[in-house]
Symmetry: C2
Subunit: 361 residues, 2 copies
Amino acid sequence: MITLPSDAPLSLQTLAAEFSAGRKAALARVVSIVENQRQGSDLLLAAMHPLIGRARRIGLTGPPGAGKSTLTTLLAAELRAAGLTVGIIAVDPTSPFTGGALLGDRVRMERVALDPGVFIRSMATRGSLGGLASATREVCDVLDAFGVDRILVETVGVGQSELDVARTVDSSVVVLVPESGDSIQTLKAGVMEIADLFVVNKADRPGADRLRNDLEMMLGLRGGMTLKDTPAHHGVQLGAVNPAKAARVAAPRDDAERWTPAVLRSVGITGEGIPELLGTLDRHFAYLEKSGELRQRRRTRLRERVVDVVEQRVRRRLWTDLTTSEWLDAHIPDLESGRVTPYAVADALLAQSGQLLSGAE
Amino acid sequence: MITLPSDAPLSLQTLAAEFSAGRKAALARVVSIVENQRQGSDLLLAAMHPLIGRARRIGLTGPPGAGKSTLTTLLAAELRAAGLTVGIIAVDPTSPFTGGALLGDRVRMERVALDPGVFIRSMATRGSLGGLASATREVCDVLDAFGVDRILVETVGVGQSELDVARTVDSSVVVLVPESGDSIQTLKAGVMEIADLFVVNKADRPGADRLRNDLEMMLGLRGGMTLKDTPAHHGVQLGAVNPAKAARVAAPRDDAERWTPAVLRSVGITGEGIPELLGTLDRHFAYLEKSGELRQRRRTRLRERVVDVVEQRVRRRLWTDLTTSEWLDAHIPDLESGRVTPYAVADALLAQSGQLLSGAE
């Protein structure tokens, strides 16, 4: 039940009531308002805040063509079969030239799209007013407050924004395919840093075993050259190396204080590997809870939410203020002639904006 | 000649002197400092400010595989042949999974890379402290202050950041190929908005004529269905529709107050179309100067620079302040329990930060 202040517009009150009653149409409208930072966005998110923290947030990321949408759909179907409700956020920074892969994703997701226990949302890039990661975090919060049990965040993007988005979830699955590259040498450090689980998808193709071996070697799950070849990293090997080895989980040392990313295999077309993936995600969540890392990740998310809101407010207060805008315009000629620098103008602007920035909206 | 304040560190003074003496190694170091916002970045950019405004900034953007790097290289060679110095910025939000196309670009650019009159820089994504467009604008400023005559900004990315980068230049070239898609229907509005010139590259391939026709129709350069079919848009048709028609430039009406994007053709492998492209860029620049739009674009850039600097300073002042950080940490438990919302915490934080935000650094 979300409760808005009594002076909130009636249309928002109605929307909040329908949202609280579990209507999917209301959920879709709230998501739109929040995603586009339209009027009422702050009020709604603030009212939802006490309800947040029940959903598990799972990210799936990987290079284009790795089969993330298929895996997401299969995961959603399996979660539904277990009686859980599912929210899917497909973050797709579509190309301005080709229109992107959105349609393809939607077609692939048809299998679960009509299920009333599944909510699917595609998100494109948010403009300059706050990044994609902030928008995704906010939409996750909405789904969480709505009462969805699991949120699957699929990032189809390339580049930094993908990693930023992955940092906003509880468990990050990195999906790779044998074709991803000749070796894992091309994986940037950021990918290694966010991966809680690796899935080698299309594992029936040539090169899959080699990719798995390389990943395991790198993670110190096997002998040979390792990047993290320290006793602490060998302590916990909760991950299933492949379905046959899934049961062979090493007993945690050091009171389960470390998680070594699991390396799983899957074949999207046949659905092979999906139960193991869900099982490993459950184990990862149990690890997060037991180790205190879940609380830490959620505290970090709350901190980032405050930072986002502060920066949004600063931008809104400064750049929609008519006096500031006119003052800035008046200084353009001096900037043009080179008499003053952007730094001097920025300092002068901030020097006189203390009250504006601290003031109530 | 750039002059730093006398209390600037000696190493920066030396660097500034070498930069002013036209040493390319110093240019490379300054670009690195600015791109990564390292110590001294603000001092250097401020000192360069009076020198900015001589270089012409030309953007090349388009879908992956359109041949932008080849065109950029050919343009650079042609500009060099005309005695001009060239800076190339390849903005490449590389995939964290594959390592991106960087190496490919460098190989293609080998032809001009060893020329002392050419400076090439690849830029990846800048993190959360300011976006890629801001970083590109700043690096352009450095090249401009160094005395480079033409700056070619190639954006290899997909998504919004590409368009943001394109908005920072004087002339935007959108490179398309017949394979780009079945039709121009997939071109997003943002692309149309930024394009000053279209180049149909790989124009010897099937579908090139159709693509050109479609573009011209859309721009109102031909009869039939048009999107901008107004007399004002028909007034100026400075662009060469194809090499054969290059000389047939309609006389401007309304004192050249409108520019209708030209549609050119090129064949990257043979170099066909490059002289026409440069000629049209010159005409576009002449139009920008005459119409006052050049000044307007540069004023907009200066305004955006101030906005960037203000937002950088706000972030730095707030999030590197120990008191703020501790205050924020102290409020996390109340956020966690749902007793307060991120909005309330953000408002309280800003309410007490007026002096911090307005203060001198």
